[in-house]
Symmetry: C2
């Protein structure tokens, strides 16, 4: 499934910047960071349950907000960028 995960955190404090780094680390295990606090994740329901628990451990629920949108397959590749270029789409073959 495709999940779009957006994270709202005050990065002007060292603690907020640290939480953003941790959220990025969790999300980047399954997807791409397309903006500073926007992640395109492709994963299974089981993966998402694990991610969800890890995210709840990382964020400060009184200050931070995460929103998770469940999208149809193929939505990411059709996202329209305005401004500078986005990273490589998910269907680009990776070379190791």
């Amino acid at each position: 499934m495709e999940l779009l995960i957006t994270y709202d955190v005050d990065t002007t404090t060292p603690a907020g910047a640290r939480r953003l780094r941790r959220v990025a680390k969790v999300c980047e295990a399954y997807g791409l960071r397309v903006q500073q606090s926007v992640f395109e994740v492709v994963c299974t329901e089981v993966d998402w349950e694990l991610m969800r628990r890890r995210l709840l451990e990382v964020i400060d629920p009184r200050q931070d907000s995460i929103r998770v949108y469940r999208l149809n397959a193929g939505t990411f590749t059709k996202a329209e960028p305005l401004g500078h270029s986005p990273p490589a789409p998910h269907d680009t073959p990776l070379i190791y």
Copy 2:
């Protein structure tokens, strides 16, 4: 149609903060600001073409990135929040 619009801008500069305020003004005419730089917009294709032009006038394309995701109707109301509460969903009746 439902559009999720995410905006990446450096708000530590006064110019960046000003551009974010302007992008918010354009998006809020058609939708909700659910996070600092995430907007849930419900509009027609014609509205989107007008918005798109206004957004391109406001952003600095060398520095800023906007991503626009076209979502199935009903995706917004099923978004899962983690952390503090989201604003009222789009299907909540408004009282004037």
